[in-house]
């Protein structure tokens, strides 16, 4: 029997992986393998902790809740290709340094490349 906390953590992970479209409370406990009583209690608890948001929804003539995560998992996708991430010149980069964002060749090259293929730059997010 898993501790209630483990179940909560697992539930939160499932809700977070559902992303912005959220998921129905009934889907959640089916995925968790919990009963509807446990499931709705977990959802309530997560909501009171401020980790998720619940919205009432009519489904097959019954009122249920759709659960949305308040915070999406952090993702590197949007910056993964940018040269400023983990740049070796980072300590030298700034108004008083040898390198500045204005004259950085790495950044220029990246921008040139990105401007040529505008679609690529935004990545998945």
């Amino acid at each position: 029997m898993p501790k209630p906390n483990d179940l909560e953590q697992k539930a939160l992970q499932i809700i977070m992986s559902a992303g912005n479209s959220g998921l129905l409370q009934s889907e959640l406990w089916r995925k968790l393998g919990a009963s509807s009583r446990e499931g709705s209690r977990i959802a309530l608890k997560l909501e009171s902790k401020g980790l998720i948001r619940r919205e009432r929804e009519l489904r097959n003539g019954r009122w249920t809740y759709r659960l949305y995560p308040k915070r999406l998992p952090a993702s590197m996708d949007s910056i993964a290709d940018c040269p400023c991430v983990m740049c070796p010149d980072s300590p030298k980069c700034g108004p008083a340094g040898n390198v500045t964002p204005q004259n950085c060749e790495r950044l220029t090259e990246w921008l040139f490349h990105a401007a040529e293929s505008t679609q690529d730059i935004l990545g998945d997010s």
């Binding site: 953590q9 590197m76 996708d77 949007s78 983990m86 980072s90 921008l111 935004l122």
Partner: protein
């Protein structure tokens, strides 16, 4: 705090560290509780000094923690490393903030300057003021400098800045 980072993101962070070897090191760290640099080197086949270099890099960003013990026979220090997945989210956020700051500076610069370029690959673009001083001749290849339209670059930068702002909730 509940950690909300999946393995794929962890691996992307490892890739961002710049080395393929970092990915291997993180893979090992992820699957073990606490491990010494020696053991990592043995398991991955990466040279010990490289393993240490990667570990120190990770340590710089608080992505791993470190415990030091003394070898009772030799008296040398043994370092035990441990991955700190709960630091990952903060790390990503701080990287994003830094990137946003840099891109913002660049965006302002691109918006406020006219650029001239000789259109030779490998040569630099120069801002108008500098181009005047150079009498519109490329200092590298000697070809005439022509006006360069940076509209696309401004557009790309604006989009990226917007996206990062949104992700950071600013």
């Amino acid at each position: 705090m509940l950690s909300a980072i999946d393995d794929a993101t962890l691996m992307k962070v490892a890739e961002a560290l710049g080395e393929e070897e970092a990915v291997k090191v993180i893979e090992i760290l992820k699957n073990s509780d606490e491990i010494t640099d020696d053991e990592i080197a043995n398991k991955t086949g990466i040279r010990l000094n490289n393993v240490r270099k990667i570990l120190y890099k990770l340590y710089d960003h608080s992505l791993v923690s470190l415990r030091r013990t003394r070898d009772p026979k030799t008296g040398w220090f043994i370092f035990h490393w441990k991955l700190q997945p709960d630091q990952l989210e903060g790390f990503i956020l701080s990287q994003k903030r830094r990137v946003l700051e840099k891109l913002n500076i660049r965006l302002e610069y691109e918006k406020n300057h006219e650029f001239y370029y000789c259109y030779t690959p490998g040569c630099k673009r120069v801002p108008f003021e500098e181009a005047v001083e150079l009498v519109f001749k490329c200092p590298t290849c000697g070809k005439p400098l022509m006006h360069y339209d940076n509209e696309k670059i401004v557009k790309v930068l604006t989009q990226k800045v917007e996206q990062l702002r949104k992700e950071l909730g600013e």
